[in-house]
């Protein structure tokens, strides 16, 4: 029994509300079509992606894909193929995504045709690269990263373009190395101009600046990447290692007030992230 004077959840009217929501959601989950469920999961995934809860987002993209496939099995439609394609893009299943967008285009979706083309070009570039045809693959990555309209394709192409440039570094003389790094930084900065909130671009920039020995700037970009979120756990961890690496390099090179100022800033960030000390990210064993 509830204590005297205190309102129970029932008397406050909260419980009936909760029960109604529960019943409605049970009814909805029983009655909703696969298309509705696919849309709900897709929206949920995008929502979590925006809150940087990437692992949950991936799980929801997979659920969305399953429901879209179920819907296509029963009632094929442009919308169902679009949802399937979007989920496949998020799961990096490029050839399947291209086929889904083509189907959506065939069923009348106008956007789908250009998306299908971009996704299939990216798939082609990846397979060319895998077969050792680096030149044509690089050209395609470059075109897609500069002129692409579909952001997941642009990001993937840019990442691969930068990686391919970095691969050239060890065989180059110093001056050429600098040129390649500067050019790659320019490419990523251009992409950041159009999408400044993309954590992955900041991660790439941090890596490139690290290659160029610009550790303060690299640290700043890695902090941005961490704050904005990265699409994969291994990238998040690698980015944390980059932060620690920059800290160690700067500890060796900065002196006096400059070091004191950086050190203060660094401590603020690691306190925010709850790192046990300057060189140990929260996930790392001591």
């Amino acid at each position: 029994m509830a204590p005297k004077g205190k309102k129970t959840a029932l008397s406050k009217g909260i419980l009936p509300g909760v029960v109604v929501v529960l019943i409605l959601s049970l009814l909805f989950s029983g009655c909703a079509s696969s298309l509705q469920k696919a849309k709900l999961h897709l929206a949920g995934a995008q929502d979590r992606e925006r809150s940087f809860r990437t692992e949950e987002a991936v799980a929801l993209y997979r659920k969305s894909l399953e429901e879209a496939e179920r819907e296509i099995g029963k009632r094929p439609s442009a919308q169902a193929y679009m949802i399937k394609g979007l989920a496949e893009v998020k799961l990096a299943r490029w050839p399947e995504a291209s086929r889904s967008f083509s189907q959506a285009a065939a069923l009348g979706d106008e956007k789908a045709e250009s998306w299908a083309r971009e996704v299939s070009l990216l798939g082609l570039a990846i397979s060319l690269q895998e077969q050792g045809l680096a030149g044509p693959a690089l050209r395609l990555y470059s075109v897609l990263s500069e002129r692409g309209k579909f952001s997941p394709v642009v990001q993937a192409a840019l990442g691969r373009l930068v990686d391919s440039q970095l691969e050239l570094l060890p065989a180059q003389p110093e001056r050429e190395r600098e040129k390649i790094i500067t050019k790659s930084i320019g490419i990523v900065e251009k992409a950041l101009d159009s999408d400044p909130a993309c954590g992955y671009y900041h991660y790439l920039l941090a890596q490139l600046l690290g290659h160029g020995g610009k550790y303060r700037e690299s640290f700043e970009e890695a902090v941005m990447a961490r704050e904005l979120g990265l699409p994969k756990l291994e990238l998040q961890r690698d980015n944390d290692n980059q932060i620690v690496f920059c800290y160690r390099r700067l500890r060796e090179s900065l002196v006096g007030e400059e070091w004191a100022e950086f050190s203060r800033t660094y401590r603020l960030w690691i306190n925010k992230w709850k790192w046990p000390d300057e060189e140990t990210p929260d996930w790392k064993r001591r």
């Binding site: 970095l166 890596q207 291994e234 690698d238 790392k284």
Partner: protein
């Protein structure tokens, strides 16, 4: 959960999942260990994380890390510094780079599957052996998992083991704490 109960739980998990692997399997304990760590760390991702282990080992960015980063990795780990003293001193990147590609995912990124797969080398600080056997042992373990994954109900069994583990309240602990407790318990199995 006390240690005895955890050991009993792991034994039971080994029996359930052991049916999908051949005797003396390389992959069985790494699958159990990494599934449980991934389950605590990120629910619903276990199957994907196990299957993608090979994919995420070698993103090009890791292959292309600058020489200073590679050197920093070896110099700032006392055991690696001792094991690769000569190569560090002579800046022998022909030896350090391939070693980095094997050691960084295990020690730098702390992948739980690899950690268990090379647990004896890590325990004995035998990093050169880890590097030498990295490819072949990983390929062998992944072949075993692919074969197990084709058998009916394997992933359901993995999910069930993870689900039971999470129901025991492990989400209250950090990934670190879970790793350490599991390691101790696995040794007592």
């Amino acid at each position: 959960m006390d240690e005895k109960k955890l050991v009993a739980f792991l034994k039971q998990s080994r029996e359930i999942l052991g049916d999908f692997f051949t005797a003396g399997s390389l992959a069985l304990l790494p699958v159990i260990f990494s599934s449980l760590v991934w389950a605590v760390n990120r629910r619903g991702e276990v199957r994907k994380k196990i299957l993608e282990v090979k994919v995420w080992l070698e993103p090009e960015t890791l292959k292309n890390k600058p020489a200073d980063f590679v050197l920093d990795f070896f110099e700032n780990n006392p055991e690696l510094r001792a094991a690769y003293e000569e190569e560090i001193k002579t800046r022998d990147f022909r030896a350090l780079r391939p070693a980095f590609r094997a050691l960084y995912p295990v020690l730098g990124l702390q992948d739980p599957f690899l950690e268990k797969l090379f647990s004896s080398e890590l325990k004995n600080h035998d990093y050169r052996r880890l590097v030498a056997e990295f490819r072949t042992r990983l390929e062998g373990a992944l072949l075993e998992i692919r074969a197990a994954g084709k058998r009916e109900n394997f992933w359901k069994a993995v999910d069930r083991v993870c689900g039971e583990f999470l129901n025991l309240g492990w989400t209250l602990l950090t990934e670190d704490e879970v790793r350490e407790l599991l390691k101790k318990a696995i040794e007592k199995m």
